[in-house]
Symmetry: C2
Subunit: 412 residues, 2 copies
């Protein structure tokens, strides 16, 4: 670490916050940790922090971008519908036995941009299908989980292409540390305060019981019906195992479940979406009765349409989230090409799978009950940004009353 | 790789030999690859070679020595009987579906030497127990598998403590490349020739049908009964899936299954044994009716006795192997502190589990039938060296006739 442009003290704090606030790892709990191999310094710090917090066993699963690229560049065409299902079923078994789950992101977000989009899409679909049994335990919040970020060199180079490697990495590290609230003396207290603010927002929204949200901004006129018995969440959240965790480090959003059959109008993206290593930019999509009926993009339109065609639910919404334009990540002016950050810079919607916890008593609902209430289901869950400085949002109640929610990108 | 002391051409050849000769990976076959994270350059080269050979999917599982140490240094005492069973059952599932298995060794062999031996032993036992379902598919040769080596920095530093890091790593790399026969223009042809030599030895031994081997050397007077219907193996070997592979790169040994109830006498080790990161040296063990009745060591005696106490079969033999003193690895004069190399420098025996393939029609035998013929079973399989320049071995036939097998360390 001597030559690293990353402050080791702040890295230790990020590990600590990820384990204590993000995961709230319980004494005796096992931890399954996925990370790019370049994130090894953070993996090691998190492992130490997790054992110090009483972890029974920490198992990192490390991936390597060159190994990933070797597949796309060398493997036979007939092999791209395969995923390591045995590994994912192992992970599902670990979650069944009570393991917590942490993911570190930090890979080059454009890793696969030079590869054949059809192969990328086939691998994505095979992976989603194989990973589903494990992912369900995360999306239904059976266990406590969190995602945090490592300032990977190649990610930093994408964000700051004009800077030398070390400077770019230092700049990304600063942005991550700042957004993750570890550049303060007492990060855990900072997170407590932040969680209280988000809780006040969700409480107000839950009291309003809006039937729909109406988004207006240049190019966008979209009415997003909300699912019956939807519940707003944000910040700290209680998993079904009783552990209160922060699933995203950082996070600025409050979010809930749209009604899969009641979304109408046109919406434009306000930031590029980096999906499986490719960039999709300038998205314009029209919904009718909840389903996308027209989709185009200035860049990556084919990938967008492949994504939407993954399955029936991929053309419908699974999440709507509100983030003020004044959010620290938005104010940084940086485009991270990574959902964990970019979704916290703007209001956004997600295609695909909904979160069952975003319903009243969500944990007790069956998949059929969730569908009846308007909850969407899909192999995918892909967020993209639709909010900006000019975004107005009205809440519409069951009797048609309109309540200002956002004006000019800020809470009204 | 620009600053690496490891010749990239020879590294590519080692990857090629490991995939083609070691594994004989079949088109469409999946590969599960375990390696220390420091071996990433070899992992990447093997991944490329495997996809070029037609692999359907390559999944590396990388381990990190600092993550391992963090556990021993930080985790609570009550956690050391735990292993990631979910990961091993995933691996077993992959093998069931036809995946091949490659392991890269290269870690500091004395990694755990400063840790509490009781904790090391508990983790070893928990890991063996959890890994058993997957390991059985390897020890019974259901699938093609191989082990090869990466010249890890800390391993090199153990072997050459007086050299600068780069020089030590270069020297270990040379030793690995040479022993693995990749320092020739046509490594695959060199392996074909080597396999033919080993096949001639096993053919002769199988024709002799010895009932026992009698080892004599300074401090050693040991009669090792051979299992009923035992079969000698060495070099290339046909797995039950029909694939002929070389399970060890390098290999110099021919080996078979001793009779678990017919081993008598005293035997001394001729090289130190590095076991789970600790060194056991100057072993002296006495067998009676196949079982160890006395065990001591100049160094690591406690670890030896913990090992023997793992289960009933851990005090009995599962393998006996013959290696001439003139073997290239022996002649290098190097102590590798690693079984993959050191076992190819000297005749050796292994405590614990036997290989079912070392029986006539081994694949068709049940565990009970193997036990009836004298095959041992155990959670462990630990080799240690008993041969040297003064080793004499007689083969003893069923009628008591003695046939010279080794004289002064060489084939008679």
């Amino acid at each position: 670490m001597t030559d690293s442009p990353i402050d080791p003290t702040l890295l230790e704090r990020l590990a600590e916050v990820s384990v204590r606030t993000g995961l709230n790892l319980q004494p005796g709990q096992e931890l399954v940790l996925t990370a790019p191999v370049t994130a090894l310094p953070l993996v090691r710090a998190i492992t130490r922090a997790a054992y110090a917090a009483g972890a029974s066993l920490v198992t990192p699963l490390l991936t390597d971008s060159e190994v990933t690229l070797a597949r796309f560049e060398t493997a036979g065409d007939e092999t791209f519908d395969l995923a390591p299902g045995w590994l994912y079923s192992g992970m599902a078994e670990a979650f069944d036995r009570g393991a917590a789950r942490m993911a570190i992101v930090g890979e080059d977000p454009m890793l696969l941009s030079e590869q054949d989009p059809a192969k990328v899409s086939r691998v994505g679909k095979a992976t989603s299908t194989a990973y589903k049994p494990a992912l369900e335990k995360i999306s239904t919040f059976e266990i406590n989980w969190t995602i945090c970020a490592w300032p990977g060199e190649s990610w930093a180079a994408r964000m700051f292409p004009d800077l030398p490697t070390g400077d770019a990495q230092a700049k990304l590290a600063d942005a991550i540390f700042s957004a993750s609230r570890v550049n303060t003396d007492d990060p855990v207290a900072a997170w407590d305060e932040h969680n209280a603010t988000l809780r006040a927002r969700t409480r107000w929204l839950n009291e309003q019981r809006f039937s729909a949200l109406h988004f207006r901004s240049p190019g966008t006129d979209l009415t997003v019906g909300l699912a019956d018995d939807h519940e707003w969440h944000g910040g700290a959240s209680e998993a079904q195992n009783g552990v209160v965790c922060n699933p995203n480090i950082p996070t600025e959003e409050v979010f809930t479940t749209p009604h899969a059959q009641r979304v109408d109008g046109t919406v434009c993206s306000t930031k590029p979406l980096s999906h499986q290593g490719s960039l999709i930019d300038g998205i314009e999509v029209t919904f009718k009765d909840g389903r996308i009926v027209e989709a185009k993009a200035d860049k990556g339109g084919d990938i967008l349409r492949e994504l939407i065609a993954t399955d029936e639910g991929a053309a419908r919404l699974g999440e709507v989230a509100l983030v003020p334009h004044s959010s620290p990540i938005s104010q940084s002016g940086l485009l991270f090409y990574n959902t964990l950050f970019d979704e916290n810079a703007a209001c956004h919607i997600a295609l695909g799978q909904c979160y069952s916890k975003c319903f009243l008593d969500g944990a007790s609902l069956t998949a059929e009950q969730i569908a009846e209430k308007g909850g969407n289901s899909s192999l995918i869950h892909v967020d993209w940004m639709i909010g900006g400085a000019e975004t107005d949002i009205d809440g519409i109640t069951a009797d048609g009353t309109r309540v200002p929610v956002f004006r000019a990108g800020e809470w009204a």
